[in-house]
């Protein structure tokens, strides 16, 4: 038994508790906590577990709709997708660990989010990831990109869940603080959804999965470890993922869930045994007694403190129905998984931690959970930036501009990345990476889910409210472009230090913006994750509220792609074009300027245009459809041409609503470019629906011809588009 250290102010500070928080802890216990109890308070009240800075604002998000079965508050959100089926999904960040050890950080991020989803009874059917790296010329960036991509693939490929979509940005603001956000979508029977609500006094608490080591015990424990003998072995270590064990866990849990043995179940995520056991007990309003000497350990001499705080991966905690231990044992043994009965539920409302029969810690569950701090941090709004006039931006020859943009780090092909991800395993991937959204067949049915992750941090930085709206709208647009009906979102709020009012202000306004968009689009938030303190030496990241959207396609062969398909098809631009160049990639990549207000999102127009497009796709009136985003009209057309291996000619209308370069490259929101064989009918329908629509050219040939006569061959365009990322990763 380790000798008990004194709980000095230093030790308290090392555990990230403010003096007030410590005071509250003493009040709750009616005495000073010992080190083990202090550690438990510190993780339960950490930003990560308690959401103390964000809670107040998260509550303002719309989380309800007739099709929402479970909103925020469980391991993942659940929506009704018909036929007795449910889609279960969530996104989660693993930013800091990925910066420290990119391979393992990203891999364990994927493992963690997978567990959140299959914990609820869903078979994971797709992974997505949103990545943000520093400037390409920062010395660390290449190594981080390589490690993160390798780690995401290494884990996802092995567990056999396809990685089907994602996004990647490069910006100096992420030099010291990359973002790795991973999302998992799963499929479950509505009558077989599992929750973390523990119940049944006397029921066994079962530990399943990998043994517990000293992985990832947070920094604070370094200090406390010094009270132990300072041996190398005793130092906390980086969490290492074992996708093989994860795969066994998925199969074993789903097999067990098909029986009636499980009362409740919860993955051991961050702050492993502590938060999982607390969450289960507090949700179920019961007490729990844990026998820590029964916890399967990887290393000798682990203390109760280390066991309760370890972040070892691939572990689950479950409550079994009485008398069902044998069913469970048979299945775990079939899958060669370590498991142990490590405690029982009680009616004491307290958590009692025992080691060899001796009580080493005791805490009341509800008071601790309920009393978890909630702060209303001071915040200041982000000053609005003036609208940047299009003629304040010099025009560049269209073809040159297009080449530069298509070869830029934020717009170039991501093939180098997705070819390292198995995006086809499970044999239901109908739309592979590279489109607007991935489309995954609901296994054995004629229906499919569309899914995407999006955020445009430079917009959020310039105007958090509009940027928040835009991130939501872009996911909605991407789903719509495939013909899918957008159903709900998950969100990952990555921000800097909330104790700085302007950063807190970014957070508040972004949440308000995404809330407004979700409301206007009947597109509720069903899960998410918050990652704060993303900054190094005072430099915060761009505010990055990543949105993951999921939609439903009721008819498979209705699904639409962006690829141009038929020579002679007319190109029609839907939605209002004003020529907004503020915060555009044209401005940044060609003029090195990040200026002006971002493009505003008119949510009513967004909804009108989107619903029109979806209707046209449903009525089989379109041959191709792509939403307009980074790089505007010309980039969208180039992407459609490359995807179809078919060229096009773009014609500017007379008169132009704005300068030509702004019409070509402006990033006005709420727009789609579609290809159709019957333009008149489409234009008429658009007019009837009150949707702005103009014909802007034709598909055909093997070149792209732009207004003003500039022409580029698809071959050359493809070459510049494909070359940058592999070239960069190979060091030139």
């Amino acid at each position: 038994m380790q000798q008990e250290p004194a709980i000095t102010d230093q030790v308290i500070a090392d555990h990230g508790l403010s003096p007030d928080e410590f005071g509250l802890a003493v009040q709750i216990l009616g005495r000073r906590p010992n080190l083990l109890e202090l550690g438990i308070f510190s993780v339960m009240w950490s930003e990560h577990c308690s959401y103390k800075s964000s809670k107040k604002w998260l509550k303002t998000l719309p989380t309800e709709a007739p099709h929402v079965i479970q909103g925020p508050g469980e391991n993942a959100g659940v929506i009704d997708i018909g036929d007795g089926l449910a889609a279960i999904f969530k996104i989660e960040s693993h930013n800091h660990p990925s910066f420290i050890e990119p391979y393992q950080g990203a891999a364990t991020g994927v493992g963690g989010i997978l567990r959140d989803v299959f914990t609820m009874g869903a078979r994971p059917i797709a992974n997505l990831n949103a990545l943000r790296f520093g400037s390409p010329d920062h010395p660390k960036t290449r190594h981080l990109v390589a490690g993160v991509v390798h780690g995401i693939g290494g884990y996802g490929n092995c567990v056999g869940v396809p990685t089907v979509a994602g996004e990647v940005n490069f910006h100096p603001a992420y030099n010291g603080n990359i973002l790795v956000n991973a999302m998992t979508v799963g499929l479950a029977q509505q009558d077989k959804i599992f929750y973390a609500r523990a119940a049944g006094v006397g029921n066994a608490v079962v530990y399943l999965g990998s043994k517990t080591g000293r992985d990832g015990i947070h920094g604070a424990t370094m200090a406390s470890a010094e009270f132990d003998e300072k041996s190398e072995e005793k130092r906390p270590t980086v969490q290492v993922g074992d996708p093989f064990v994860e795969k066994l866990l998925i199969e074993a849990c789903l097999e067990l869930m098909a029986t009636d043995a499980i009362q409740s179940i919860q993955d051991m995520g961050a702050a492993g045994l502590t938060s999982s056991s607390f969450e289960m007990a507090s949700k179920g309003g019961c007490g729990v007694e844990l026998w820590l000497d029964q916890v399967p350990c990887r290393e000798t001499g682990m203390t109760p403190y280390e066991m309760m705080l370890s972040e070892s991966q691939e572990r689950m905690l479950m409550i079994l129905q009485p008398g069902r231990e044998d069913v469970a044992r048979r299945i775990f043994e079939k899958w060669d998984l370590d498991f142990a009965i490590i405690g029982k539920l009680t009616d004491s409302g307290r958590m009692v931690l025992k080691m060899h029969g001796e009580t080493v810690g005791e805490l009341p569950i509800d008071p601790l959970a309920q009393a978890s701090p909630e702060y209303d941090r001071p915040w200041t709004p982000t000053p609005k930036l003036p609208l940047l006039a299009a003629d304040a931006v010099p025009a560049v020859a269209p073809v040159e501009a297009l080449k530069t943009l298509m070869a830029s780090p934020d717009l170039c092909s991501r093939r180098w990345i997705w070819e390292q991800y198995d995006h086809m395993v499970m044999a239901d991937t109908l739309q592979r990476p590279g489109g607007d959204a991935a489309v995954i067949r609901i296994h054995g049915t004629n229906r499919a889910l569309a899914m995407t992750v999006d955020c445009t941090p430079r917009y959020v930085q310039a105007d958090p409210f509009e940027g928040g709206k835009q991130a939501v709208a872009e996911t909605w647009r991407n789903l719509t472009a495939t013909g899918a009906r957008p159903l709900a979102v998950t969100n990952n709020l990555n921000f800097g230090n909330p104790q700085r009012p302007h950063v807190m202000g970014q957070f508040v306004e972004a949440v308000q913006g995404l809330g407004a968009a979700c409301r206007a689009l009947d597109y509720p938030v069903i899960s998410g994750n918050v990652s704060l303190y993303n900054e190094t030496s005072g430099q915060a990241i761009l505010p990055t509220p990543t949105i993951g959207g999921v939609g439903l396609l009721d008819d498979l062969d209705g699904h639409m792609t962006l690829a141009l398909k038929a020579t002679g098809d007319s190109l029609v631009l839907l939605g209002e074009t004003r020529g907004h160049l503020g915060q555009s990639l044209y401005l940044r990549e060609l003029h090195g300027r990040e200026e002006g207000a971002p493009p505003p999102v008119d949510l009513a127009a967004e909804r009108l245009v989107g619903n029109f497009v979806r209707g046209q796709i449903g009525d089989k009136k379109l041959n191709a459809c792509h939403d307009l985003s980074d790089g505007g009209l010309v980039v969208a057309l180039a992407e459609m041409a490359l995807a179809g291996g078919l060229g096009a000619t773009l014609e500017a209308p007379e008169p132009l609503p704005c300068p030509l370069h702004a019409w070509l490259f402006g990033e006005d929101q709420g727009r789609y470019l579609v290809a159709t064989a019957a333009p008149e009918a489409l234009l008429a329908a658009a007019q009837a629906a009150g949707v702005a629509a103009i014909q802007v050219g034709r598909a055909g040939g093997d070149t792209l011809t732009l207004p003003g006569g500039g022409t580029i061959s698809l071959a050359e365009l493809r070459q510049v588009h494909e070359a940058w990322l592999p070239g960069y990763m190979n060091g030139h």
Partner: protein
């Protein structure tokens, strides 16, 4: 001269391969096997003939490329 670099996972870092190998040896009927650790072995042929200089440059290679010091430790053997 030749250099051998043995790369090990640091103590306490989960060795997923080692665990799996140990399990497999068990099912093959090899018992009496305790811990199994899987590491890397990198053999380099160097022009350098001065041992001290050779070791120094291999050290540098380990720090810069061969070893991920966040999770790995290493040992260098020189073989003339």
């Amino acid at each position: 001269m030749k250099a051998r670099v043995h790369v090990h996972l640091k103590n306490g870092v989960l060795d997923v391969q080692g665990v799996a190998i140990k399990h497999a040896l068990g099912t093959l009927g090899f018992d009496g096997v305790g811990d199994v650790r899987a590491g890397k072995l990198i053999e380099l042929t160097l022009d350098e003939s001065d041992p001290a200089k050779a070791r120094a440059s291999v050290e540098a290679m380990c720090k810069k490329l061969l070893v991920n010091d966040v999770i790995e430790s290493y040992a260098i053997d020189l073989v003339a």
